[in-house]
Protein backbone atom coordinates (compact mmCIF):
# COMPACT_ATOMS: atom_id res chain seq x y z
CA UNK A 1 0.00 0.00 0.00
CA UNK A 2 2.27 2.77 -1.23
CA UNK A 3 1.36 6.38 -1.66
CA UNK A 4 4.06 7.23 -4.14
CA UNK A 5 2.02 9.94 -5.84
CA UNK A 6 1.79 12.16 -2.75
CA UNK A 7 5.32 11.79 -1.47
CA UNK A 8 8.25 14.05 -2.10
CA UNK A 9 11.25 12.65 -4.02
CA UNK A 10 13.19 12.54 -0.72
CA UNK A 11 10.51 10.34 0.87
CA UNK A 12 10.48 8.04 -2.13
CA UNK A 13 14.25 7.76 -2.07
CA UNK A 14 14.20 6.97 1.63
CA UNK A 15 11.47 4.39 1.20
CA UNK A 16 13.62 2.75 -1.47
CA UNK A 17 16.74 2.46 0.67
CA UNK A 18 14.78 1.35 3.75
CA UNK A 19 13.17 -1.40 1.67
CA UNK A 20 16.58 -2.46 0.36
CA UNK A 21 17.98 -2.56 3.89
CA UNK A 22 14.99 -4.47 5.29
CA UNK A 23 15.38 -7.17 2.63
CA UNK A 24 19.17 -7.39 2.86
CA UNK A 25 20.68 -10.64 4.13
CA UNK A 26 22.03 -10.51 7.67
CA UNK A 27 25.68 -11.29 6.82
CA UNK A 28 25.96 -8.50 4.27
CA UNK A 29 24.24 -6.00 6.57
CA UNK A 30 26.57 -6.96 9.42
CA UNK A 31 29.63 -6.45 7.22
CA UNK A 32 28.48 -2.98 6.14
CA UNK A 33 27.46 -1.98 9.68
CA UNK A 34 30.89 -3.03 11.00
CA UNK A 35 32.36 -0.29 8.81
CA UNK A 36 30.42 2.33 10.81
CA UNK A 37 32.26 1.63 14.05
CA UNK A 38 33.67 5.18 14.15
CA UNK A 39 30.26 6.81 14.21
CA UNK A 40 28.53 7.55 17.49
CA UNK A 41 24.81 6.93 17.77
CA UNK A 42 22.34 7.65 20.57
CA UNK A 43 19.43 5.28 20.98
CA UNK A 44 16.13 7.13 20.93
CA UNK A 45 14.22 3.89 21.00
CA UNK A 46 16.21 0.81 21.91
CA UNK A 47 15.42 -2.18 19.68
CA UNK A 48 12.06 -3.62 20.69
CA UNK A 49 10.05 -6.56 19.45
CA UNK A 50 6.36 -6.27 18.74
CA UNK A 51 3.53 -7.65 16.70
CA UNK A 52 1.90 -6.22 13.64
CA UNK A 53 -1.23 -7.39 11.87
CA UNK A 54 -0.61 -8.30 8.25
CA UNK A 55 -3.60 -7.55 6.05
CA UNK A 56 -4.19 -8.48 2.43
CA UNK A 57 -6.80 -8.76 -0.30
CA UNK A 58 -7.56 -12.07 -2.04
CA UNK A 59 -6.14 -11.92 -5.56
CA UNK A 60 -5.02 -8.38 -4.69
CA UNK A 61 -8.60 -7.16 -4.98
CA UNK A 62 -11.79 -7.30 -2.94
CA UNK A 63 -12.12 -6.66 0.79
CA UNK A 64 -9.17 -6.64 3.12
CA UNK A 65 -8.79 -9.52 5.55
CA UNK A 66 -6.35 -10.23 8.36
CA UNK A 67 -3.70 -12.74 7.30
CA UNK A 68 -2.20 -13.01 10.77
CA UNK A 69 0.26 -11.48 13.19
CA UNK A 70 3.89 -11.02 12.24
CA UNK A 71 6.78 -10.31 14.59
CA UNK A 72 8.48 -7.01 13.88
CA UNK A 73 11.55 -5.45 15.49
CA UNK A 74 12.02 -1.70 15.40
CA UNK A 75 14.68 0.74 16.51
CA UNK A 76 15.35 4.49 16.31
CA UNK A 77 18.80 6.03 16.68
CA UNK A 78 20.12 9.56 16.42
CA UNK A 79 23.39 10.58 14.81
CA UNK A 80 25.22 13.86 15.25
CA UNK A 81 27.51 14.69 12.36
CA UNK A 82 30.80 16.55 12.75
CA UNK A 83 29.04 19.75 11.62
CA UNK A 84 26.42 19.32 14.38
CA UNK A 85 23.65 18.25 12.02
CA UNK A 86 21.23 15.81 13.70
CA UNK A 87 19.45 13.02 11.91
CA UNK A 88 17.25 10.21 13.21
CA UNK A 89 17.30 6.84 11.54
CA UNK A 90 14.64 4.18 11.86
CA UNK A 91 14.88 0.46 11.31
CA UNK A 92 12.01 -1.98 10.95
CA UNK A 93 12.60 -5.65 10.18
CA UNK A 94 10.41 -8.73 10.14
CA UNK A 95 11.39 -11.17 12.86
CA UNK A 96 13.16 -10.85 16.21
CA UNK A 97 16.64 -9.79 15.14
CA UNK A 98 17.40 -6.72 17.29
CA UNK A 99 20.89 -6.16 15.89
CA UNK A 100 19.59 -6.05 12.32
CA UNK A 101 17.00 -3.39 13.22
CA UNK A 102 19.69 -1.27 14.86
CA UNK A 103 22.11 -1.58 11.92
CA UNK A 104 19.37 -0.46 9.55
CA UNK A 105 18.52 2.51 11.79
CA UNK A 106 22.20 3.51 11.89
CA UNK A 107 22.65 3.30 8.12
CA UNK A 108 19.36 5.20 7.64
CA UNK A 109 20.58 7.99 9.94
CA UNK A 110 23.85 8.30 8.02
CA UNK A 111 22.12 8.23 4.64
CA UNK A 112 20.28 11.40 5.65
CA UNK A 113 23.57 13.21 6.29
CA UNK A 114 24.35 14.98 3.00
CA UNK A 115 28.09 14.49 3.52
CA UNK A 116 27.72 10.71 3.72
CA UNK A 117 24.76 10.08 1.44
CA UNK A 118 26.39 9.53 -1.94
CA UNK A 119 29.18 7.27 -0.72
CA UNK A 120 26.77 5.09 1.26
CA UNK A 121 24.33 4.81 -1.63
CA UNK A 122 27.21 3.65 -3.83
CA UNK A 123 28.94 1.33 -1.37
CA UNK A 124 26.03 -0.07 0.64
CA UNK A 125 22.64 0.36 -0.96
CA UNK A 126 23.60 -0.42 -4.56
CA UNK A 127 25.34 -3.76 -3.77
CA UNK A 128 22.55 -4.77 -1.36
CA UNK A 129 19.90 -3.95 -3.96
CA UNK A 130 21.82 -5.95 -6.57
CA UNK A 131 22.11 -8.90 -4.20
CA UNK A 132 18.38 -8.83 -3.40
CA UNK A 133 17.52 -8.57 -7.10
CA UNK A 134 19.82 -11.54 -7.80
CA UNK A 135 18.11 -13.66 -5.11
CA UNK A 136 14.65 -12.73 -6.36
CA UNK A 137 15.65 -13.52 -9.96
CA UNK A 138 17.06 -16.90 -8.88
CA UNK A 139 13.87 -17.74 -7.00
CA UNK A 140 11.74 -16.60 -9.94
CA UNK A 141 13.79 -18.72 -12.35
CA UNK A 142 13.39 -21.77 -10.11
CA UNK A 143 9.62 -21.28 -10.01
CA UNK A 144 9.35 -20.49 -13.70
CA UNK A 145 10.84 -23.88 -14.65
CA UNK A 146 7.73 -25.61 -13.30
CA UNK A 147 5.26 -23.08 -14.63
CA UNK A 148 1.99 -24.37 -16.03
CA UNK A 149 -0.16 -22.18 -18.27
CA UNK A 150 -3.88 -22.75 -18.06
CA UNK A 151 -4.99 -21.77 -21.55
CA UNK A 152 -8.68 -22.25 -22.13
CA UNK A 153 -10.87 -21.43 -25.06
CA UNK A 154 -13.16 -18.50 -24.37
CA UNK A 155 -16.81 -19.40 -24.31
CA UNK A 156 -18.78 -18.05 -27.25
CA UNK A 157 -21.53 -16.66 -25.03
CA UNK A 158 -19.30 -14.36 -23.04
CA UNK A 159 -17.66 -11.49 -24.89
Amino acid sequence: MTKDDQDTPQQQARRHWLAVLAHAPRELLERHAAGLADDVFTRLRAPEIGLTMVRARIGNQGDRFNVGDATVTRCVVRHRAADGRLTAGIGYVLGRDEARAEWIAQIDALLQQPARHDALMREVIAPLAAETARRHAAAAALTASSRVSFDTLASETTP
Binding site: L44, R45, A46, E48, V76, L86, T87, A88, I90, Q112
Partner: protein, 214 residues
Amino acid sequence: MSNALAHMRAGFADPVHGAQQTFRALLGAMAEPGRLQMLHDAATDGLTPADCEMRPPMGVALAATLLTLLDADTPAYLAGALGNDEARAWLRFHTGARDAPAAVGMTVALARDVDEALWRALDLGTDEAPQSGATLIVEVDALSERPLAGAVALKLRGAGIETSRDLAVGGLPADFWRWREALQSELPRGVDLILVCDAQVAAIPRSTRIESEA
Protein backbone atom coordinates in the same frame (compact mmCIF):
# COMPACT_ATOMS: atom_id res chain seq x y z
CA MET B 1 8.45 14.52 10.67
CA SER B 2 11.95 13.26 10.14
CA ASN B 3 13.32 16.57 11.38
CA ALA B 4 11.10 16.44 14.48
CA LEU B 5 12.42 12.95 15.18
CA ALA B 6 16.02 14.14 14.88
CA HIS B 7 15.34 16.55 17.78
CA MET B 8 13.26 14.09 19.81
CA ARG B 9 14.00 14.14 23.56
CA ALA B 10 15.01 11.02 25.48
CA GLY B 11 12.70 8.72 27.42
CA PHE B 12 13.48 6.04 30.02
CA ALA B 13 16.96 4.54 29.62
CA ASP B 14 15.36 1.16 30.29
CA PRO B 15 11.63 1.40 29.47
CA VAL B 16 10.58 -1.79 31.28
CA HIS B 17 12.32 -1.15 34.60
CA GLY B 18 11.77 2.60 34.46
CA ALA B 19 8.02 2.13 34.10
CA GLN B 20 7.89 -0.63 36.73
CA GLN B 21 9.78 1.41 39.33
CA THR B 22 7.68 4.49 38.65
CA PHE B 23 4.49 2.45 38.82
CA ARG B 24 5.57 1.08 42.20
CA ALA B 25 6.11 4.63 43.47
CA LEU B 26 2.70 5.75 42.15
CA LEU B 27 1.06 2.71 43.75
CA GLY B 28 2.70 3.60 47.08
CA ALA B 29 1.63 7.22 46.72
CA MET B 30 -2.00 6.24 46.08
CA ALA B 31 -2.01 3.72 48.95
CA GLU B 32 -0.65 6.26 51.42
CA PRO B 33 -2.13 9.62 50.46
CA GLY B 34 0.14 12.54 51.17
CA ARG B 35 3.29 10.48 51.68
CA LEU B 36 6.14 11.53 49.41
CA GLN B 37 7.56 8.84 47.19
CA MET B 38 11.04 9.36 45.80
CA LEU B 39 11.42 8.02 42.29
CA HIS B 40 13.96 5.21 41.98
CA ASP B 41 17.19 5.87 40.08
CA ALA B 42 16.15 3.29 37.50
CA ALA B 43 13.18 5.51 36.73
CA THR B 44 15.05 8.80 36.48
CA ASP B 45 17.96 7.29 34.52
CA GLY B 46 17.81 8.50 30.98
CA LEU B 47 15.40 11.33 31.84
CA THR B 48 18.25 13.57 33.01
CA PRO B 49 20.88 13.19 30.28
CA ALA B 50 23.95 15.41 30.37
CA ASP B 51 23.01 16.76 26.95
CA CYS B 52 20.40 19.46 27.66
CA GLU B 53 18.94 19.06 24.19
CA MET B 54 17.96 15.51 25.08
CA ARG B 55 16.04 16.34 28.28
CA PRO B 56 12.31 15.65 28.26
CA PRO B 57 10.13 18.74 27.71
CA MET B 58 8.90 18.67 31.36
CA GLY B 59 10.08 17.82 34.88
CA VAL B 60 11.62 14.43 35.67
CA ALA B 61 8.81 13.10 37.86
CA LEU B 62 6.12 14.34 35.48
CA ALA B 63 7.91 12.77 32.51
CA ALA B 64 8.35 9.45 34.35
CA THR B 65 4.70 9.44 35.48
CA LEU B 66 3.38 10.07 31.97
CA LEU B 67 5.70 7.51 30.36
CA THR B 68 4.40 4.98 32.91
CA LEU B 69 0.67 5.68 32.81
CA LEU B 70 0.05 6.46 29.14
CA ASP B 71 -0.24 4.09 26.24
CA ALA B 72 -2.17 3.81 22.99
CA ASP B 73 -5.42 3.17 24.94
CA THR B 74 -4.83 5.89 27.55
CA PRO B 75 -4.86 9.37 26.05
CA ALA B 76 -4.04 12.40 28.16
CA TYR B 77 -5.06 16.03 27.90
CA LEU B 78 -2.14 18.42 28.20
CA ALA B 79 -3.42 21.72 29.58
CA GLY B 80 -1.97 25.21 29.30
CA ALA B 81 1.72 25.65 28.59
CA LEU B 82 2.25 21.87 28.50
CA GLY B 83 -0.02 21.55 25.50
CA ASN B 84 2.75 22.34 23.00
CA ASP B 85 3.71 20.36 19.93
CA GLU B 86 7.04 19.25 21.33
CA ALA B 87 5.49 17.66 24.45
CA ARG B 88 2.77 16.05 22.35
CA ALA B 89 5.24 14.61 19.85
CA TRP B 90 7.44 13.36 22.70
CA LEU B 91 4.56 11.51 24.38
CA ARG B 92 3.35 10.16 21.06
CA PHE B 93 6.79 8.79 20.22
CA HIS B 94 7.56 7.20 23.59
CA THR B 95 4.12 5.99 24.69
CA GLY B 96 2.01 5.81 21.52
CA ALA B 97 -0.69 7.82 23.35
CA ARG B 98 -2.81 10.26 21.40
CA ASP B 99 -3.59 13.56 23.07
CA ALA B 100 -7.15 13.88 24.28
CA PRO B 101 -9.07 16.92 23.01
CA ALA B 102 -10.47 17.87 26.43
CA ALA B 103 -9.97 17.27 30.13
CA VAL B 104 -12.17 14.20 30.38
CA GLY B 105 -9.83 11.40 31.46
CA MET B 106 -6.17 11.80 32.34
CA THR B 107 -5.40 15.52 32.58
CA VAL B 108 -1.93 16.97 32.97
CA ALA B 109 -1.03 20.55 33.88
CA LEU B 110 1.63 22.74 35.41
CA ALA B 111 0.65 24.28 38.76
CA ARG B 112 0.31 27.80 37.37
CA ASP B 113 -2.01 26.64 34.57
CA VAL B 114 -4.67 25.06 36.81
CA ASP B 115 -7.72 27.30 36.84
CA GLU B 116 -11.36 26.97 37.73
CA ALA B 117 -12.35 26.27 34.10
CA LEU B 118 -10.03 23.26 34.07
CA TRP B 119 -11.47 21.95 37.35
CA ARG B 120 -15.01 22.36 36.06
CA ALA B 121 -14.17 20.49 32.86
CA LEU B 122 -12.90 17.43 34.76
CA ASP B 123 -15.08 14.35 34.52
CA LEU B 124 -16.16 13.09 37.96
CA GLY B 125 -17.49 9.77 36.70
CA THR B 126 -20.93 8.47 37.66
CA ASP B 127 -22.23 6.64 40.74
CA GLU B 128 -22.46 3.48 38.62
CA ALA B 129 -18.97 3.91 37.09
CA PRO B 130 -16.91 6.10 39.43
CA GLN B 131 -13.71 4.65 37.94
CA SER B 132 -14.27 6.79 34.85
CA GLY B 133 -13.54 9.92 36.92
CA ALA B 134 -10.56 11.99 35.82
CA THR B 135 -7.03 11.83 37.16
CA LEU B 136 -5.40 15.25 37.47
CA ILE B 137 -1.59 15.25 37.39
CA VAL B 138 -0.03 18.56 38.42
CA GLU B 139 3.61 19.58 38.50
CA VAL B 140 3.92 21.82 41.55
CA ASP B 141 6.77 24.08 42.68
CA ALA B 142 7.32 22.53 46.11
CA LEU B 143 6.26 19.37 47.89
CA SER B 144 7.14 18.47 51.47
CA GLU B 145 5.90 16.49 54.46
CA ARG B 146 7.05 19.33 56.72
CA PRO B 147 5.77 22.91 56.69
CA LEU B 148 7.43 25.08 54.05
CA ALA B 149 7.53 28.84 53.75
CA GLY B 150 5.28 29.98 50.93
CA ALA B 151 3.56 26.60 50.65
CA VAL B 152 0.01 25.69 51.65
CA ALA B 153 -0.04 23.27 54.61
CA LEU B 154 -2.66 20.55 54.32
CA LYS B 155 -3.89 18.09 56.93
CA LEU B 156 -5.09 14.90 55.26
CA ARG B 157 -7.37 12.22 56.70
CA GLY B 158 -9.07 9.20 55.23
CA ALA B 159 -8.32 5.78 53.80
CA GLY B 160 -4.64 4.85 53.98
CA ILE B 161 -3.85 7.36 56.74
CA GLU B 162 -3.78 6.18 60.37
CA THR B 163 -4.71 9.47 62.02
CA SER B 164 -3.69 12.42 59.92
CA ARG B 165 -0.81 13.36 57.64
CA ASP B 166 0.68 16.73 56.81
CA LEU B 167 1.61 17.79 53.32
CA ALA B 168 2.90 21.16 52.15
CA VAL B 169 2.29 22.07 48.51
CA GLY B 170 3.66 25.19 46.84
CA GLY B 171 2.85 26.96 43.61
CA LEU B 172 -0.83 26.15 43.19
CA PRO B 173 -3.46 28.89 42.78
CA ALA B 174 -5.00 30.05 46.07
CA ASP B 175 -8.43 28.61 45.28
CA PHE B 176 -7.14 25.18 44.21
CA TRP B 177 -7.98 23.46 47.50
CA ARG B 178 -11.40 25.10 47.65
CA TRP B 179 -12.21 23.58 44.25
CA ARG B 180 -10.96 20.20 45.50
CA GLU B 181 -12.97 20.50 48.73
CA ALA B 182 -16.16 21.16 46.80
CA LEU B 183 -15.91 17.62 45.38
CA GLN B 184 -15.51 15.82 48.73
CA SER B 185 -19.24 15.34 49.20
CA GLU B 186 -19.57 13.77 45.74
CA LEU B 187 -17.79 10.52 46.71
CA PRO B 188 -17.53 7.96 45.09
CA ARG B 189 -17.48 10.39 42.17
CA GLY B 190 -14.46 12.62 42.11
CA VAL B 191 -11.00 13.41 40.85
CA ASP B 192 -7.79 11.63 41.83
CA LEU B 193 -4.91 14.03 42.22
CA ILE B 194 -1.24 13.20 41.59
CA LEU B 195 1.27 15.89 42.55
CA VAL B 196 4.80 15.75 41.21
CA CYS B 197 7.85 17.89 41.91
CA ASP B 198 11.49 17.24 40.94
CA ALA B 199 11.83 13.46 41.44
CA GLN B 200 9.03 13.20 44.03
CA VAL B 201 5.46 12.01 43.74
CA ALA B 202 2.51 12.31 46.15
CA ALA B 203 -1.12 11.46 45.59
CA ILE B 204 -4.38 12.74 47.03
CA PRO B 205 -7.06 10.30 45.87
CA ARG B 206 -10.72 11.30 45.92
CA SER B 207 -11.28 9.39 49.19
CA THR B 208 -8.91 11.66 51.13
CA ARG B 209 -10.46 14.46 53.21
CA ILE B 210 -8.54 17.69 53.45
CA GLU B 211 -9.40 18.91 56.92
CA SER B 212 -7.48 22.07 57.46
CA GLU B 213 -5.19 24.38 55.64
CA ALA B 214 -3.21 27.20 57.11
